[in-house]
Structure formats: C-alpha cells, structure tokens
Symmetry: C2
C-alpha cells in the first residue's frame, strides 16, 4: 500500500468510525432524551440530529452525488438557529432520515476510487483547485468528521 492509499484509508476510516459511534449513541437515547436540551438554554437533541442530517445531505451536493435526500432540512436545521418555540420534525422522522442518509452516502462513497477522492469538490473552481489541491472531495469527509464528533460530544450529554 503506498502512502497516498494509506492516508485516504485513514481519513475514510475516521469518518466511518465517528459515524458508527454517533449511530450507537443515538440508538441508546430515547425519544424523550432527544427532546431535552443538551445544556440549559442550548440546542436540544432533535435539533442537533436534524442539523447533522442536513449537513450530511449537503455533502451529497459538495461531492457531486446527485439529489439531496431531505432538502427541506436545510432551512430548518442549518439556516434557522435552534428555537425552543419552533415546531421541528419528531424523533421518529429524524431517526428514519438519519438511517436513510447514512445508507445513501455510504453507497455513493463506496463507489469512489482513490483518484476520485483527490478530485475537486463541487464548490471550488478549477482555477482555485489548481492552486489549492487540498480542496478535494476527501477534505469534505475530513471536515464533516470533526463536525460530527463536535456534535456527538454534545449528544452524549443527553445520556443522563
């Protein structure tokens, strides 16, 4: 295995592992726990789960994978900040879309070759990419992995 293959594997493994940990945590949380605030005045579990789904859905766009799975979540869980007064989708709907999202992403991701991962993502111009080759598809995985662990750290506080 050459060093590029090793590094690509490291980043993809880190994503899979972070996703698996979050999924395991979500399965351990009740709907009631998801409806609680992570900390006084802060986002509840429902909002964070919806936010993760919306951010992962946006990866479909950035990675050139086709149509989004739940485009309506963008406005609700990215554009709008959390409000305790807002009516949000319920836990059952979110759990379903979380699973669907993971399946779609995983299927599309598995179809990419190592060379594909090093190609530009869809939000960078060819001109910029020539100068900044780190703005590749794999960097989307890397930055969304740290985004995922950031919020997993918060969701784990609901386990009380």
């Amino acid at each position: 295995m050459n060093s590029t293959s090793t590094l690509v594997k490291m980043i993809l493994d880190r994503w899979s592992s972070a996703l698996q940990s979050c999924d395991k945590l979500l399965n351990s949380l009740t709907d009631e726990q998801l409806n609680q605030a992570t900390a006084p005045t802060k986002n509840n579990g429902i909002y964070i789960l919806g936010h993760l789904i919306a951010v992962h859905d946006d990866m479909i766009r950035l990675l050139g994978f086709g149509e989004k799975v739940v485009p309506a979540y963008f406005d609700v869980f990215i554009k709008a900040p959390y409000s305790a007064d807002a009516t949000l989708p319920n836990a059952a709907e979110l759990r379903l879309n979380w699973t669907k999202m993971n399946e779609v992403l995983s299927q599309k991701m598995n179809a990419l070759s190592e060379a594909n991962w090093l190609e530009a993502h869809t939000a960078v111009s060819a001109e910029d990419f020539a100068k900044e080759p780190h703005r590749n598809k794999l960097n989307i995985i890397l930055t969304r992995t740290t985004h995922l662990t950031y919020h997993t750290g918060q969701l784990t506080l609901l386990n009380r």
Copy 2:
C-alpha cells in the same frame, strides 16, 4: 504538490484549526464558567480542559517527542473519571499548562518531515506496522483531532 503532501497538509491543518477554535473558546470562557458542569451530572469545564491537556501530553509519548509536560495529569484526568467531590487543579494552572502544552507540541510537530509523519508511532510494533501502515504518527494527530472537537462541542455549552 504530490497527493501524499496534500493529504498530510490536510490532516495537519485540521488539527491546527481545531486547536485554534478550542483555544479561542477557552479564552472566551471565564474561570467561573469553566467550573460549571457542561450539563446536569456531567463533567465540568475544568475536568474537560485537564483531560485535553493530559491526552495531548500523552501524544508526546506516542510521537516519541521526549518527556511529558504534566505527567501527573494522567491519573487525575484520564485514569480517574470526573467526580464533583474531587479536588482538581484550578483554572489558572490549567490555562497555563494548556498554553505550555500547545507550544511544546507545536514546536516538536513543526520539526517533523513528511516522511517522519508516515513512520510508526511508539505504541505499535515493527511487525504490526509492516501490516498496518496506517498506524503512523499522523494517525495520532487525526484521532486526537476528533477527540478535541468532541470535547470542544461540550465546552461550548458552558458559554451561557
């Protein structure tokens, strides 16, 4: 820039960026906020900050960088779980050691070449590393980056 260099840069940049975000957050939190629990019954900010310092100190060992900066933190912040009754170092001491830790690590890390990053870390045998080349020094950076963002997500809840 070849693909290996690009990928090494991506991972090192992600670490630096995560560290910078956490540092900025810590500077925005008062000592009083650090002494609060992130969520009911959960770790307070003091314990999380001490835990991050201890885990980063252990990177010195894993990366073969020499002597630890605050070896005593291992027992207090990794071996022992958080207890509201425990007497922990105060915020001033922790802030000082956090800064010192970042300086030492950053200095040692800057001295490594790309080839060095792809070498085995100190907790893997030569035999295992031959079969599992992803157990390199850079993977320590990658896994500690997601560890850092996980806890940064929790610390940010103290900002209330």
